[in-house]
Subunit: 738 residues, 2 copies
């Protein structure tokens, strides 16, 4: 089931009641002096027309839209009585809305009256149908739609149809406008903003669609009250509504609370409605609000992609999803025109291969034509805080290299991320060669694939994908963080430690959590180190656990690739296999082999053109498991991916590892070299209240000492004593290379 402007539906639970009013309510909306007035204006149309043929990328999108609509023009209007939730009637109404929007746009650009007639014919039919509708027959929950099974789709529809109506407004007789407004727009606005007033006023991406739809209907009808409700909430007090959402759903630096996969979906209504507001009430300075939060949100979203443009699969996320998704194109184009024509966004547009069908899309295409070799998007090491105040943890991204040859490490220490959040505090993801190397499973779902549970989230999303063991972080006593309880996890978050990316040879980030496991404090520090003795950047990972009681700590590496070698003698389960455990995701992991470490563990796999070796501090008390996803999966919904798991029974414990890319494997040439790692040993020298000291040694006299302070802060001196030696450093961390 697809939305026209949208891409895909979101099934989300929400929360986060509106608090406090920041925006004034003292502005006024006057009936528009002209139409179109939403995303198009008379000046915008004039510019569009005068630049036709000058912006090939835009022109091709326009031609494609014309060709698609030409087919629709040949069909009789079809406005069926709603029946199904994802079947033909739902799809039909969704398609009608999209086609009407495009037809309206084409009418403005070409003046061809066939397009206006196309929109009008359908408005007529909806004006007859809509008043006759009760609750949608396929609605399932206590929040039913009328034209669609859920009101979100109703809002999506209203956004599109308001745009279409706006474009042909001047071709209609007053009595026709009156008929459409009183039979479609006003009742639908009431339905969304009053019948569903509770959802309308919450802080959630669904509500952003709600306010955008209502506000756009308000502007096109010139109804100041409706617009005010959209901007400031039902009570018009600023405690809800669009401006409040701009403050609540993003952190001050633009991180969207659900993570990038859903941010991609949520940004669309923000940018669409902001465009409309700016065209109608420029005095509200929507694009300047909250410290230019819309700009920040777009850049934050783009930073949360791997070199191939795919979003980091934090929380519920489909791994195929990338910045090429339709819902990212318009925000990129808007950001380009609203915030000073940043040329690096043009290279994003090149990756997208498309522009939006509006003046900003044409502007981007014109700019690309003028500068066909724009500078690359400035991927950087960056930390984002989470929460409306920026005080609910965050995520850290370390990067080294450029283009596809970019190493990227991502650590998640944010809040849960609402209903699509996973229980994975301090989880690590790692990308190299434009590939996932240490992976987050993402969500267990085949979006829109009917035979796979109707395209909804699969049962294994809860039983596996959300559980802690599905992530590269420590599971304690085989139980997920917060015992995977939503209500427990929702208000809690990890704490930012430090994030130092100034030194490109030694970038480091650190975070802590004391909320996820009762009685266990966790601190993870991840460094990205470049060294001339090594061909590629190396990750150092130090995961400290402290607890008064003894626990079973499982520290997994969900690696992507083919096993090459391991220095631990592993007992393979050759002819009979069993799961690793019985609950919290463990029931889905086959044990392929197990063994016991005898000192520093070395584990090598091959992926793409490189080898990767994990060298981990370990002692004979450390159990080692090789697992593969797939047990207790009756419908074969899961991907059979492997993991290496280190298990240690302890109270206080430090897992310390180096993750090293090395060598070259070229299948075309059948050439390979460097299949052995340079790093050979990692050991924990000390772990005191003051800090942690880890030693990394290897070939070519490689001898590093990594010192990490527990209490971060600039200029503070730390000393740790161990083995008759003292280790002294100043500040958060130090890497001493001998």
């Amino acid at each position: 089931m697809r939305m026209s402007l949208v891409g895909a539906l979101v099934f989300g639970v929400f929360l986060c009641a509106a608090e406090g009013a920041l925006a004034g309510t003292d502005t006024t909306v006057t009936p528009p002096s002209h139409h179109p007035c939403l995303m198009l204006t008379p000046e915008g149309v004039a510019t569009l027309r005068s630049n036709l043929g000058r912006a090939p990328l835009f022109d091709s999108v326009l031609e494609e839209a014309k060709a698609n609509l030409e087919k629709a023009l040949k069909e009789a209007p079809d406005v069926p009585v709603p029946k199904d939730a994802s079947g033909p009637t739902q799809q039909r109404h969704s398609r009608n809305a999209g086609e009407m929007r495009v037809a309206g746009f084409l009418y403005q650009v070409t003046g061809d009256s066939r397009y206006a007639t196309f929109v009008k014919e359908r408005l007529e039919l909806y004006a007859s149908l809509y008043p006759s509708l009760g609750v949608h027959p396929a609605s399932k929950d206590n929040s039913p739609g009328r034209l669609f099974w859920q009101p979100l789709n109703e809002a999506n529809w209203l956004v599109d149809v308001s745009l279409a109506y706006d474009c042909i407004y001047d071709t209609l007789l007053p009595k026709e406008r009156e008929r459409y407004e009183s039979n479609i727009f006003i009742p639908m606005v009431q339905f969304i903003s009053e019948v569903h007033g509770k959802e309308f006023n919450i802080m959630h991406n669904h509500a952003t669609w709600f306010v955008a739809a209502v506000g756009m209907a308000g502007y096109v009808m010139g109804d100041a009250n409706i617009v005010k409700k959209a901007l400031y909430g039902s009570k018009m007090d600023g405690k809800a509504g669009f401006f409040r959402q701009m403050e609540q759903l993003f952190s001050p630096d633009g991180y969207y609370c659900e993570g990038p996969y859903y941010a991609r979906y949520a940004l669309m209504p923000f940018f669409v409605f902001a465009d409309v507001i700016e065209n109608n009430q420029p005095e509200l300075k929507v694009f300047e609000r909250h410290g230019q939060i819309l700009k920040k949100s777009l850049y934050a979203l783009l930073q949360q992609t791997d070199p191939g443009g795919k979003f980091f699969p934090l929380n519920d996320a489909m791994k195929e999803m990338s910045m090429r998704n339709n819902s990212v194109i318009f925000p990129v184009n808007q950001t380009f025109v609203r915030y000073g024509n940043d040329p690096t966004l043009l290279s994003v547009a090149q990756t997208q291969g498309k522009v939006s069908l509006d003046p900003s899309g044409q502007a981007v295409a014109m700019a690309l034509e003028a500068s066909p070799h724009p500078p690359p998007f400035p991927y950087a090491s960056v930390e984002y805080c989470d929460g409306p105040e920026g005080k609910s943890g965050g995520i850290g991204i370390l990067r080294s290299g450029s283009g596809n040859d970019q190493s990227v490490a991502v650590m998640k220490y944010s809040s849960l991320g609402m209903g699509h959040g996973h229980y994975d505090k301090l989880a690590l993801e790692y990308f190299d060669q434009g590939r996932e190397l240490l992976t987050d499973y993402g969500s267990a779902r085949f979006v829109n694939v009917e035979p796979k549970y109707g395209g909804r989230y699969l049962p294994e999303n809860n039983s596996f994908a959300k559980q802690t063991i599905a992530h590269n972080t420590v599971t304690v006593d085989e139980r997920s963080h917060y015992f995977a309880k939503y209500a427990t996890a929702l208000p809690l978050y990890s704490e930012r430690g430090f994030f130092d990316a100034q030194d490109s040879e030694f970038q480091i980030m650190s975070a802590t959590d004391t909320t996820a496991v009762p009685g266990v404090a966790m601190r993870r520090t991840v460094a990205m180190v470049c060294d001339k003795a090594l061909d590629h950047p190396v990750l150092l990972d130090v995961f400290s656990l402290t607890s008064e009681k003894e626990h079973r700590y499982d520290y997994p590496f969900h690696f992507m690739g083919q096993f090459i070698q391991c220095n631990v003698k592993l007992s393979p389960h050759l002819a009979e296999r069993h799961p690793l455990g019985t609950q919290d995701g463990y029931q889905h992991l086959w044990v392929e082999a197990e063994g016991q470490a005898e000192g520093s563990l070395s584990f090598t796999w091959l992926e793409g053109q490189r080898y990767y070796t994990i060298t981990a501090a370990a002692d004979p008390g450390t159990m080692v498991f090789l697992t593969r996803i797939g047990a207790n999966d009756p419908e074969f919904n899961l991907r059979p991916e492997p993991a290496l798991i280190l298990r240690k029974q302890a109270g206080n414990h430090v897992f310390a590892s180096a993750i090293e890319p090395h060598g070259l494997f070229d299948g075309d040439r059948e050439y390979t070299c460097g299949s052995d790692s340079m790093i050979r040993n990692v050991s924990v020298i000390a772990a005191s209240k003051e800090g942690t000291v880890v030693r990394i040694t290897g070939e070519g006299k490689l001898d590093w000492t990594l010192m990490i302070a527990n209490d971060p802060g600039v200029g503070i001196q730390h000393t740790v004593h161990a083995n008759h030696e003292s280790y002294t450093w100043t500040g958060n961390a130090k890497l001493l290379k001998k």
Copy 2:
């Protein structure tokens, strides 16, 4: 371990003694009137020089060669005493040879005496070293090398160094030449052609390197006897030697007996030595010989690639290997210049992204510069016969569509393919979207990856990859074809049936085998059908088995992708898994689920942007297994790939299936449609001595009847009676669409 000119080593077992003499021995070789005389000639050098700067692709290869050699020029010569088989001394000698070859070439092109000195310094050292060498210390078998562990590498070295010597010949004093020839070239020729005379005279790709090396040394020294041995065998009677190899190792239409992966390696010495012969004895018309067999072999090799240029993984094959491999570049360039400048080869060169460092490489680059948009390589449906006489079965390739959107079906009914052959008579491979959909495992090996069994073939290559169950063909009674016995399988082959690709809507191929399983006759017929009711071509597969006794027939589909749905109620093995069997590869297959069919089976998976459904005739007596590779694999050498297996206990039986690509899955857009197949039922109507009749029905009144004759032949009428109906057709096969 790598060869300079070569790419990779071949470890092959082999025989096939030379028989009969076809080539005359009445030609004479006179000492060359000039140097260089091998791959370069004075005219060739003049052309090369005059065209410098005009062929960017060649110029970039030249610049890269110069840059690489510049580093080597700064190093002192290193000619160590041989010690290891794949370690530093082996690599050093191999690298020396490659660098000397390039230096010689650069001397001719630039006239820079540093290059000539580079070659000379190393010849001096080899002239001291070589006479002192006995048997190589790391030689393992009864065919030891001297400078390298096996004589094949010695031949590779001699090819390169002969070329280098040729290029600087004119800069040397007679006494220097005498020293090099008597200490290096003559003893090495003797070693290869006399000490290893048996291998020199066999029909095998190693021997092609042997004769090329010896012949090139002979030409450069102007020694007619040596050249004659290379061309006509040690006895100079034409029963062995290069010309005999041209006749014996290829079928009359150019299929190389080991399959494309090894053909890629074998073609190199053929084309190198042919180039040298043509430059020295054009009267031998080497490129015209045996019906232009070299041209045919190159085109046959290119036809055996998927749309991405990867070779069909028949027999022992690495899946990464493609037409981009270095050893294919020179043959493509030579074919272009020697056989009339076929412009479609230029698009192959574009795919390769490189040209060879010789006049033909420059010619291709010049042509590409003149025609930067050459026509695509003419991929076609084509059958190749196997065996020197073309009477040892063959392979069939059906194609539909173009570019990446090309459906390709490959059936193997050839001879074994020598020591690298797999036991997989009538095996099927299927490609679509530029991907493997029904896959041959290829070989179990990580070429040159030291930690993986020294980069050699892994034990699982024998225990799994070569076994019948690893392929898409029928295994009888859980035993591989020929019981996987090399000596049994070697002389035997399947029989071609018919191959009709005239009708692009209904292409069909058929073959039989009575040699692989005692008492069981097999016939497989594969059709590729296009129909306007279907978005993509469909494969129809009819596999008939006849036997007086009852057997267990296993008919597998090794599919690539993610399971979506199956209409058979499968009992999954949720928390305990066991292998499917105990031998012949079965011990490596975990059973994930099993069930019993209840009529036509439907099985759908997702790969790339499409769904694929197998609809197979089945009855309640048909067992269904879902398996995954990985059991009894103590070193995790195998890839965990899935298969669907249909099992039937019967004497005579027909497995009939339709394999249908359908729908669209677009992860970027989160859009999908068509997850259900159009074909819904396949049933076997009749299987008589006359032929087989299969009915295929589906949505939209799709109703096809496929009739296949057992005795192929044009114009013959066939009638089969079943269920009170008679089915009549003329010729090999007919598809009746109602």
